[in-house]
């Protein structure tokens, strides 16, 4: 059994325009993937592809006008999406942890760092405050924060970006989660700090056997810190598989263009096929969402493509592909 199995997730933004007509933005259109313990999955895609929305949908953190309209998210076999709020609250922050984007705005500005760590521990676990405090100090130390007892007394505004990100990860790890979801954990940090944070995360996965999902737009992070990757476009996963297999043999035209646009692969002045803008989620084309931008689109692309197996759990969703 997979640690996390997401099946056919659909999330829509439902609103009314000035004329009171209902408008529906189909933001997630059948997202499916699995994550095993001890593995790191990289969820990649460009702005608006639905990466963060996938995480918030799984965690049950959607707020109107976003609405979950279908699918399942099985965590150790239990469907998070049909779970009662109480049961879900017991899991979130304990067995499933989310590291959200923008560390500076995610910490409570009026509570000292140490008290935030102790609070999340005591919300889920029995034990004395002294024990929680000792654990918090250990956790800060394990994340490479110098002089943890002093940092416990720090206010969030006193932290640098890298420190705040480490504190967020410490918060997520306080209760030994089995699943960690990190949304752009290093975006906005300097590269030397990024390397420190990602080393920590991977270390944690390797040593404790938890499963981690890293949401990022940085293909360098995926290439070096993830085991599997899933490429999102217009609210669906168009290609997924082992990182090395996808980079060696990118098969969906979108993945090919995305990887071809990295500084490592791109040639300045080469003909660029990546024209156009992402599709309007309020009026997605029938069939393949990428067909308006796809250099290889044909009449058959008006029919939704199915996942084509390309070997060793590498799949891509395109009519042009032949199963391996």
């Amino acid at each position: 059994m997979s640690l996390l199995a997401v099946e056919d997730l659909h999330t829509h933004f439902i609103s009314r325009d000035l004329d009171n007509h209902v408008r529906v933005a189909r933001a997630l259109n059948g997202v499916s993937f699995t994550l095993d313990s001890g593995r790191v999955l990289g969820l990649v895609g460009e702005t608006g592809a639905g990466k963060s929305l996938t995480a918030t949908s799984i965690m049950g953190l959607l707020r109107p006008p976003a609405k979950l309209v279908g699918g399942r998210a099985l965590f150790e076999g239990r469907d998070l999406l049909s779970m009662e709020e109480g049961a879900l609250n017991a899991l979130r922050g304990r067995d499933i942890a989310l590291v959200v984007q923008s560390p500076k705005s995610s910490l409570d500005p009026l509570t000292r760092v140490g008290d935030q760590l102790i609070r999340i521990h005591r919300a889920h676990r029995r034990g004395s405050e002294a024990a929680a405090r000792a654990r918090a100090i250990d956790m800060l130390g394990a994340l490479g924060i110098p002089d943890p007892p002093r940092r416990m007394r720090a206010w969030p505004h006193e932290l640098s970006g890298g420190m705040a990100q480490r504190v967020l990860i410490a918060l997520a790890l306080m209760n030994d989660p089995r699943l960690l979801i990190a949304d752009e954990p290093t975006t906005g940090l300097d590269v030397t700090v990024q390397a420190q944070i990602l080393d920590l995360l991977r270390d944690r996965v390797r040593r404790t056997g938890i499963g981690a999902m890293i949401i990022t737009h940085d293909l360098g992070v995926v290439a070096h810190y993830c085991d599997e990757m899933a490429v999102m476009y217009a609210g669906a996963i168009v290609e997924s598989g082992p990182v090395k297999a996808v980079f060696a043999n990118p098969s969906h035209p979108y993945t090919q263009n995305l990887i071809g646009a990295t500084p490592e692969r791109m040639k300045l002045g080469a003909a660029r096929t990546m024209g156009g803008t992402p599709p309007d989620l309020y009026a997605l084309p029938a069939g393949c969402a990428y067909r308006d931008r796809c250099p290889r689109a044909g009449a058959d692309c008006a029919v939704p493509p199915k996942d084509v197996p390309l070997g060793a759990s590498h799949v891509a969703r395109c009519h042009r592909l032949v199963a391996a």
Partner: protein, 327 residues
Amino acid sequence: MNVLEVDGLVKHFPAGRGAVVHAVNGVSFTINQGETLGVVGESGSGKSTIGRSVIRLLRPDAGIIRFRGRDITTLPESACRPLRADMQMVFQDPWSALNPRIRIGDLIAEPLKLHTKLSGAERRDHTEALARRVRLTGELLTRFPAELSGGQLQRVCIARAIATSPKLIVLDEPTSSLDLSVRAGILDLLAELKAETGAAMMFISHDLGTVKLISDRILVLYLGSVVEYAPAAQVFADPVHPYSQALMSAHLPADPTAVLRRHVLEGEIPSPINLPPGCSFASRCPVAVPRCRAETPVLDAVQPGHLAACLRIAEGANRIPALAATG
């Protein structure tokens, strides 16, 4: 010919209660015609302050800035203004760089209005040509900035920057807020413009992959000082300053088969308010010795054209230890 010559640039900012932010501490470099200089370094290294100083959006505290042979270091603002036809800047965030209430066509025509004597009709023709040049469709000219995507807006900013055929364009993180595929298109455009116009470019970025792709030479900054200055290929293949070694090794190429030789740096860039004496990198440097905390290293040639500022290079002790290679 040197388009830009910067010698010993210093810029400090007051930080209240008598404290001083030492943003730039004696930086020297040149940019030739048709050359792209990549400026890299982490937050707080002084990249943007240098960019703003050379086109005189800031007035340096010390040092000399020569633009096409002319000393512009202390020119009053009124004398700088006409110069800006020849020196332009593109900023990181195109959403805040453009006035939201002015139509795209008028935004592109603005520098023409300020710096040329073209008639209204000539200006319109010129604006349309500029829009075509940066591959914006004509229908966008009547729109407002809010109706365009980030990539389109950055093209508008570039069209404005090239409108008066400047000799120097300073680009401050021009692609950092853009998606990968959009970024590729902008880099293509910049490379084309460079080949066509021979303008000198200063490309400021923390994205090492992009800098490697577009730069001829690279200036590596740490806490407002140049630590290494060399042709791009050499800085990436064989960085000699300990900080450059750590910086280059932390870069993650988008290629899982690339072998990383990681050097891990302890801690983060210190505050530029209380600069320690000696080498600014000494507090994090794995090969620092007591002398590094007392003596300030100067930029010295390691090979012709490859400069670095580290006392330990002469002793052959500048290589920092690497962690085991990881995939």
